[in-house]
């Protein structure tokens, strides 16, 4: 067995363990792309579809014949690591990717706990890194993070459309905020509370709960009988489902919910017991929208993954369009190794893919989003632009 064939067998084995095989046509040089995502653990509901979407994009690129840079053909192969929803495993996964000198570009991680240490490590090693987690906004623009991108809009951008839509659709006048006691929650409050107050909504109470809380009874009682008609909460489906469920059990609590993060599933499950539920779809509404590009993407996703969509599948669009932006940037700058030039080119692009993607000079995404709305048992969505 030749060395080249052995290399292909080894590559197939690595990709197969990641779950999918990205097509790699023969005859082209192969660019290795690293991915570190929480494929298991509580954050996998975000990261697993995101990694699937990225792999799907690379597969589509390869099936088109890859990219051509200065007359030379290149295709992509993906090396995937599992962060297991824990910072220490995100770091060890990142370190394994860094040990491969061929990997200079990495995608992955949508949650801040594993994301911050991994992103910091990638920055120190001059890796072109595309992440999705919230606290990445605190890193971008700082020295050493010139090659970092956050592919999801910052809270500051999302909230500017989410709050006006939420206030209008829910008709709330007085809202409480209930979030887990984490750094990301404090940044959420710093963004959302002023916007609510600017919209004329009173926010008399902000409470934080211990992140592994399962019994929300005592903390929900703080909001009981306070004449609040809305509750802004987050930051993942499991927690919010528990909050919604227990608030309906306890009584005397707001029945209108604004959900920062996750999917509409928590509200939809208890649709009969609550008045309304509004949530952020940071990419595209895959179920209730009427965008033909989205519908086509969904079909391709089902074909690639052999799975049906779920409420969290929309995270599959986290990196999808950015993969194509990166590929186009490589072709336009005429290099697959000049990471600074590739990054600069991405920042100058406006890409109309499934999402309409732009990045600012610090690498922050500036994209339109969809907002899911559940009111009177009916589900719909609206598209909201940061402008």
């Amino acid at each position: 067995m030749s060395n080249r064939h052995l290399g292909r067998v080894a590559r197939f084995a690595v990709l197969a363990t990641a779950g999918f095989v990205v097509a790699t046509p023969a005859g082209a040089d192969v660019l290795k792309i690293g991915m570190v995502n929480s494929l298991t653990g509580p954050h996998s509901s975000f990261d697993l579809p995101a990694s699937e979407g990225a792999e799907m994009a690379f597969d589509e690129l390869n099936k088109r014949g890859g990219i051509t840079v200065k007359g030379k053909k290149y295709t992509f192969s993906v090396v995937s690591e599992d962060a297991q929803s824990k910072p220490e495993f995100a770091v060890s996964g990142a370190q394994r990717l860094l040990r491969d000198d061929d990997i200079k570009i990495v995608f992955g991680i949508l949650t801040s706990g594993p994301g911050v240490p991994a992103a910091t490590l990638f920055a120190k090693n001059d890796i072109l890194y595309f992440g999705g987690f919230t606290l990445m906004d605190t890193l971008l623009g700082k020295p050493g993070f010139d090659l970092a991108f956050r592919t999801l809009d910052a809270d500051a951008v999302v909230a500017k459309s989410f709050i006006p839509v939420g206030v209008k659709q829910l008709g709330v006048k007085k809202v409480g905020i209930l979030l887990p006691n984490e750094d990301v929650s404090r940044s959420i409050v710093a963004v959302y509370k002023p916007l609510l107050e600017q919209a004329g909504i009173a926010v008399p109470m902000v409470e934080y709960f211990q992140p592994d809380t399962s019994d929300f009874g005592p903390v929900l009682r703080k909001f009981q009988n306070q004449e609040m008609d809305g509750l802004l909460t987050g930051t993942n489906d499991a927690v919010v489902e528990a909050i919604v469920r227990q608030s309906t059990e306890l009584g005397g609590l707001p029945k209108k919910f604004l959900y920062r993060g996750g999917s509409g599933a928590p509200g939809i499950k208890y649709a009969k017991q609550i008045d309304s539920f509004i949530w952020q779809i940071l990419t595209r509404d895959l179920e209730h929208g009427d965008d033909p590009k989205v519908a086509e993407w969904v079909q391709r996703y089902k074909t690639f993954t052999h799975k049906d969509t779920s409420p969290n599948t929309y995270w599959g669009l986290t990196f999808y369009d950015t993969v194509f932006m990166m590929a186009k940037a490589m072709e336009e700058v005429g290099s697959v190794t000049d990471l600074k030039a590739i990054a600069a080119k991405i920042k100058s692009m406006k890409y109309d893919g499934v999402r309409l993607m732009r990045y600012d000079n610090d690498g922050r995404a500036n994209s339109d989003i969809d907002i899911g709305i559940l009111t009177d048992g009916k589900i719909s969505s609206v598209r909201a632009s940061p402008e």
Binding site: N181, F209, D212, T213, G217, E241, R245
Partner: protein, 289 residues
Amino acid sequence: MWIDVAQTVFDGLMVGGLYATVAVGITLVFGIMGVLNFAHGQMVMLGAYVAFFAVTAGLGFWVGLLLAMAAMGLFGLILERLIFRHTLTDHMTGLTVSLGIIMVVENLAAAVFTPDHRNFDPPLSGSVQLLGITLSAQRLLVLVLVMGLVGAFYLFLQKTSFGKAIRATGQNRTGAALVGVQITQITALVFVLGSAMAGAAGALYGSLFAITPYMASGPLMKGFILTVLGGLGSVPGAVLAGFLLGLAESFGSRYFSAAFNDGYGFILMIITLLFFPTGLFGVRGKARV
């Protein structure tokens, strides 16, 4: 104001009752066998899953509760027969083995059930009004059931011949053997009962809160706090400590910070041990069952 306090008391008693149901099993096993069984929390988790699958299969909550108790009782018997019986003379080995069981069971559960959060519909939904207090119907049911379980367990220990044999073994193993108590049967029964209580706690827990393979650590940690707080080997102590812990957490989260929820239990434990060094009902050198 008093309505708010009453609601907070109710919440505390409910969750404290769940803790007490878990702690009873831990302290009983320790009192009789001298084994600190860290795997007890896994039985709470597995009991919750048994109830979940029973309910989703259409068997209903009550069948799920009974199945959870029976399944965990059987699991406890298997563990006692295959593992803990052989560690009776070396408690450190028993403790270490129980730590290993945690790893095996938790990872198996994650692999088989996946880490996704699960919920099942409880038998009661919504809230009820009682003397002007708004109470969750299912939480009220859980409180009634844990009181019933703990009460029944206490009566079993006090009034039945098996219960007396368990208490005798806890007080003096040799003496109990001399008067004809079958020690091996009693240790097996203790494991079965403790595990069944954990299974019941799991089913009740699952009727209120999310079920995951990783949910065992919370109840287990609380269970051990209660075992120390109540006095090692003291069942009445564990029960009282359970309710006290629930009240401490409920009032702490309600009137201070919910972000410090677990800390209230440790503060309670420290203060109690300062005044009662062997726990609320602990007697130095003896197990009180």
